[in-house]
């Protein structure tokens, strides 16, 4: 699988999971926020590092 295909598949799966997280009633809202926070952190940390490099 190429990098682009891999990326596309990952984005699709993440969006599927975001949808699940949004809709499910099995997970408390506080826990959902914590999941979102950690996910966002994973995105933010590397970008901040890149910003420093740039």
């Amino acid at each position: 699988m190429t990098d682009e295909n891999d990326k596309s598949a990952l984005i699709t799966e993440i969006r599927k999971r975001i949808k699940y997280l949004t809709e499910t009633e099995e997970i408390p809202i506080e826990e959902k926020i914590e999941i979102a926070r950690r996910a966002l952190e994973k995105m933010g940390s590397e970008e901040q590092e890149e910003a420093v490099v740039q």
Binding site: I14, R15, I18, T22, I33, A36, R37, M43
Partner: protein, 267 residues
């Protein structure tokens, strides 16, 4: 590349907001809005993220899929009888071929092979109309009669790992939770265990964590036992589906959810 904007750390923001709104009647609605904003920000940035970043992000989310790849050894099936628990039908059972032919015959009566193509272990699922509870009672009775002492051969972990993969039908990047009933296998990370033997996982995924059924049923999470290999496996487990994502939080609620989602309910 777009960037995620933070005025303070996301953790601080979330904690402050939750704390401030704890007693407010409109708490849920406000928190929901906060969550929605977070998820929107995340979604907007996905296309600019690297594959590595995306993998990390994915691992934070529960899959929500009902067919989570959980595999149990026949030892776990047997342990169910002792604990009075009916195995969740979604759990695939891995048969250890070195087992007694008598026990194999009983297993064959209740379970059917689902795939033996690339493993010396066989994934099994319940035959139509069969009840796992009846199977484990019969096996347990046999075990008592035979006074069997299960020994783990040196290649046990590798073979079981392969069997788990086969039985659970794991996909690339997924982690299989192996549920064990063995009293000897307290709980351990197979990857680490194999590394000690200069072996590697014969599987596509990163790791298999085997947990002792008894610990789970008692509601005790193995971290209390201080097992380093399992602490190291936290991130791996977080990649798993419903019930395990919360492992990263390491609290009793996580394990309660794991028990309910993976093992069914006590009779």
């Amino acid at each position: 590349m777009s960037t995620v904007q933070h005025t303070s750390s996301p953790e601080q923001e979330a904690l402050e907001l939750i704390g401030t709104l704890a007693a407010a009647p409109e708490k849920t609605a406000v928190l929901q809005e906060f969550l929605t904003e977070r998820l929107k920000a995340l979604d907007t940035n996905l296309k600019d993220a690297s594959v590595d970043q995306l993998r990390k992000v994915l691992n934070e989310f529960p899959s929500g899929e009902p067919d989570s790849p959980v595999a149990a050894s026949t030892g776990a099936v047997e342990a169910c009888s002792v604990k009075g628990v009916e195995l969740d039908p979604r759990i695939q059972v891995v048969l250890d071929k070195s087992r007694s032919p008598i026990i194999q015959a009983v297993l064959d009566k209740y379970f059917t092979s689902v795939d033996a193509s690339h493993s010396d272990r066989i994934g099994w699922e319940l035959r139509d109309g069969a009840v796992a509870k009846d199977a484990v009672r019969e096996i347990d009775a046999l075990n008592r009669e035979l006074h069997r002492e299960t020994l783990l051969p040196t290649d046990y972990a590798a073979s079981l790992a392969e069997g788990y993969e086969t039985a659970a039908g794991a996909r690339t990047g997924e982690v299989v939770l192996g549920v064990s009933g063995s009293q000897k296998m307290d709980h351990w990370d197979m990857k680490s265990h194999l590394a000690e033997q200069n072996m590697s996982l014969p599987t596509r995924y990163d790791s298999i964590v085997s947990l002792n059924l008894s610990l789970l049923l008692r509601g005790e999470h193995p971290l209390e036992g201080g097992k380093k290999e399992l602490r190291d496996a936290r991130g791996v487990l977080a990649a798993y589906g419903t019930g395990l994502y919360a492992y990263d939080h390491v609290d009793s609620r996580s394990w309660a959810r794991l028990r309910l989602s993976a093992l069914g309910s006590p009779n």
